[in-house]
Amino acid sequence: MRRLLRVSSFRAVLVYLGLFLASTGIVLLFLHGQINRALTSNNDKALWRDAAMMNQSYALGGLSEVEKLVAQQSQLSGVGVYLLADGLGRYIAGNVPAFPAPADTQMQEDGWLHLRLQAPFAEARARLVRFDDNLVLLIGRDLSAQQATMADLARSFFIALLLLAVFGVIGGGLMGRQALARVENINHSLRAIISGDFSARIAPSSSQDELADLEAQINQMLARIESLMLAMREVTDNLAHDLRSPLTRLRARLEKLSLSAQKTGQADDIEQGLADIDQLLSLFTAVLNLSRMEAGTGNMQQQKIAVKPLVDEVMELYQAVFEDAGWTLDHVVDKAATTAHIIGDRHLLAQALINLLENALVHGVGSPPHLTLSLTRRDQQIIIAVTDTGSGVDDHQLAHIRQRFVRLDESRSRPGNGLGLSLVDAICRRHGGQLHLSNHRPSGLRCEICLMVRE
């Protein structure tokens, strides 16, 4: 339900339904008043006719004629209320025995009275007709039938509104669910693409509406991206092959020369040449790996990996290196993080962590040099953090150090090619995670690899 409430079409239906119900309610209220007024007006007309008939009979035959007519009308079962009385209010004829008490009598506009009567009547709308000083007629209409009709009508109106609301919510829910399913379909395909499957497409829906147009557009865009990616992959693969072949020959020639160069004293130069080739190659490999990772063209293993053993293994490999370099180490594991698993590529993640450790080893030497490797869990995230006690990084440079070829020592004399953090960043993003960099107080750099936990 909460998911449905986030769907825009369902929310639109709900808002529209609310407005529609409110306006319908107002219309029905108005209609109810109009019908009530029409019924009252009809009653009043009948009563006036009745009163005119009484007046006429008094004019023709005096008291006896009126008394006869009142008695006759009172006999008829119906809504008529009659009381013929003398000048002192004493009963002469009619179906009401006496005038109601003043408390049960309410004066209304234009001489109308609203009366509360004894059974069989309930409430009545009535007038007084005065024939002479000694003869008065109370003539009225019982209201209970009209009131019952109006109450029935109000109940019907209310039920109609309720049905409208129920059908509206159900209809809106169905529409929302359908829209949600189709958007979910699009999202599903896009997620596959984000994780590197560029051949994924949105399954076409049967309807021909604006969403279908959108799906077709996205599919076209995906086809374009895929062809660009394939072209890019072909270029990098060809480049890799074409560059490696001459380098292989060059290296073999230099090695051959170095065998005979022992005598001529050029061995050192040739050794240096070989080292230069290897450095060139390692830079080239790093650029290629980074490009593949950022472009998502290199296929990545999608295995379930337990994070703690992976971190332990890397730490076990590097602990000795740090200790021999005079560092002290802390390896902190949050209890909730010990069983966490993620989906991804073990080699890539190990490489990311190793890059961070080697970075710390070269750039994060503090006094005393100390490294904290921590594994913590925060909700659905697992965080592998490497913190050193070095001088850290200026705040304004924090945002830049993950960019390609950015090196903070101006002379570029320290080892490294400026691609290490870029690769870590790309590996994290390829796994749907992030690399967070921050300065640690009082001094040091803190690098966090944040990944989503998969149960």
Partner: protein, 229 residues
Amino acid sequence: MRLLLVEDDPTAADLLIDRLRCDGDIVAYAENGEAGLAQATQDAFDVLIVDRLMPKLDGLTMVRQLREQGADTPVLFLTALDSVDDRVAGFAAGGDDYLVKPFAYEELRARLEALMRRKQPAQDTMLTLADLTMDVIARRVTRGAHEITLQAREFSLLEYLLRHKGQVVTRSMLLENVWHYNFDTQTNVIDVHISRLRNKLDKEFSAPLLHTLRGRGFVLQSADKLGDL
């Protein structure tokens, strides 16, 4: 060693063959996969060195067909394709080792030696070299009368060295086979572990067993036999 090199770049092949012959190997050459497959089925070789991208028949298909015919000659892929996928595909096709171009000759040499001697039974559980003994089942290492206490990874490292005793093993071979990572590191991480192992193994004894060969790698061997390497 009898070797077959299957490689479509004749210049690179010539350079490599020269070097291998200098070291006393007998090297046959095929310039594409089809010719390579024919030669490999006709003659007996100790190790096949196979490029991947070749005309007529690529290296992967060649090795797959060779394996289907029942040949178990060790295969080392020597290729410009360096991604993890390529590597996995190489092993899946029946390759035994994978080296990316360009390579240091010593790296290739060490891997060829390892492949050739791989045929020795790996299920030995008592490994020895001079007065060094490793009981793989009981996880016990002794040198002379002294027991040497090793951590788990040090034990694996020594076991690998003992199973390749007398052979040069390179840093990347150790990283691949002991730690199971196949990427290069920027630091001397393997050297640090070797030097720690050497401390436990050789420090108290007059005859060192674990040696570093500059520019080549490491070897576990009695000092008096080092001259052969």
